[in-house]
Subunit: 224 residues, 2 copies
DNA sequence: CTACCTTATGGTACTCAGTACCATTGTGAT
DNA sequence: ATCACAATGGTACTGAGTACCATAAGGTAG
């Protein structure tokens, strides 16, 4: 019965996409989808928890494959693992092509679907985060840094994917490489202070008066 | 009638929080909330579009104030504006204290509310993004960089806020300063190997305008 | 072949969020 | 007093999601 189940599921997905694009998401009821797929309403909700979920059919499996890829990583190759895990998602969407573009059209126009997509992306972020967290230690400052990095990976991926979905690029994988390179470079350790030729001062303050701060600033600058 | 409207709204918010914490979000119906607040069901949906929205009562106004703060920014003080705009949100939550913690408890346990919160955060990200985009030019590579930066600002804010909500820190504003400093430093231009004696100063301040401060700063630097 | 078990499925009935519409009340201005 | 207007409450409806039960299909052990 595996074949029947898969085929039912596929039919429901196809029916949903067609109806959503024709009548719009809100104007389409679950009954409509089920009827067009030739199944009962109950069957729909067994396959998809919500009406929105039918738009992201293999989201869970994708997240799972990312998690597996990360789990299989050597600590020394952590950055490679992150990149390759993210690429996994990208190539999946590239393979879907038409379906991915249809989904993009829908999520662009339907707030409910957009919201769903965003919380889906958050799952990727969480997945990367837990990996990056354990990879980095937990010295002070790193928890935030890990979060920033996890965000950056997901954002970079989405950025490239979105450009491809819009038709703004025909070389998404190459773009992905450069985007990920930018991310990695962003988090690469700064050139050490041992190099005396340069000085960077980052000063963030609110309450204290400027005259209060200037001596400190001057002192720091003189060190460099 | 302004007083009555506000008071109705406040009562509904209070009633909702109480009921959600007692019975849980799903077990509480909108009728329950309306009844406890002493209003009709219709009144509830006039004040809040969805049952989830009552948990984030001043979200829209907060986003608006962020947008206004950013709109009032001088290009030269863009980083200051971003920091201060984010701080606006932080201090709002700090002032709410108990309510913010109750909200945190709810969003931590109720997936629907968590999802709502996330798409709310996305609105902040969008707001910062459009500002940062126009601030940076559109040379190749900057669109992604702008996205990364907008994400980083929101994430840094959330990171600090979350730690305060958990009770992990008692100095959230100071933590916010260092977190934002980390973000700014992350995106600070790399020191090119070309210029041997280079100095970068990033100064972020709240009260006075940066243009006000710059001459003084310049004078000090030349002295040092 | 039969009894049995599992699995996918369909149907029915229910709760409740959200919408549309209409009636009422209170308040201020003229 | 009357008119205008904003806020409110009530009623009825659609549709998502849940719970429960009944049935059919297929496989397996006896």
């Amino acid at each position: 019965m595996e074949t029947t189940r898969t085929s039912s599921r596929e039919r429901m997905i196809r029916a949903a996409y067609e109806l959503f694009e024709q009548r719009g998401f809100e104007k389409t009821t679950v009954d409509d989808i089920a009827a067009r797929a030739g199944v009962g309403r109950t069957t729909f909700f067994r396959a998809f928890a919500t009406k929105e979920d039918v738009i992201f059919p293999d989201h869970d499996s994708l997240v799972a494959s990312v998690r597996e890829r990360l789990a299989a990583a050597t600590p020394s190759a952590a950055l490679v693992a992150v990149t390759e895990a993210a690429r996994l998602v990208l190539v999946h969407y590239l393979a879907e092509s038409d379906l991915a573009r249809a989904r993009y059209r829908l999520t662009s126009n339907v707030p409910a679907l957009r919201a769903r997509e965003i919380s889906g992306q958050r799952q990727y972020q969480r997945t990367f985060l837990t990996f990056i967290r354990t990879w980095m230690g937990d010295e002070p400052g790193t928890p935030l840094r890990a979060e920033l990095m996890a965000d950056a990976v997901v954002t970079a991926h989405n950025h490239v994917l979105r450009q491809w979905l819009r038709g703004s690029t025909t070389t998404p994988e190459a773009d992905f490489d450069t985007a990920m390179a930018a991310v990695v470079e962003l988090f690469a350790p700064r050139s050490p202070a041992s190099d005396a030729s340069e000085t960077q001062v980052v000063l963030l303050r609110t309450q204290r008066d400027l005259d209060d701060v200037l001596p400190e600033l001057k002192r720091v600058l003189e060190q460099g």
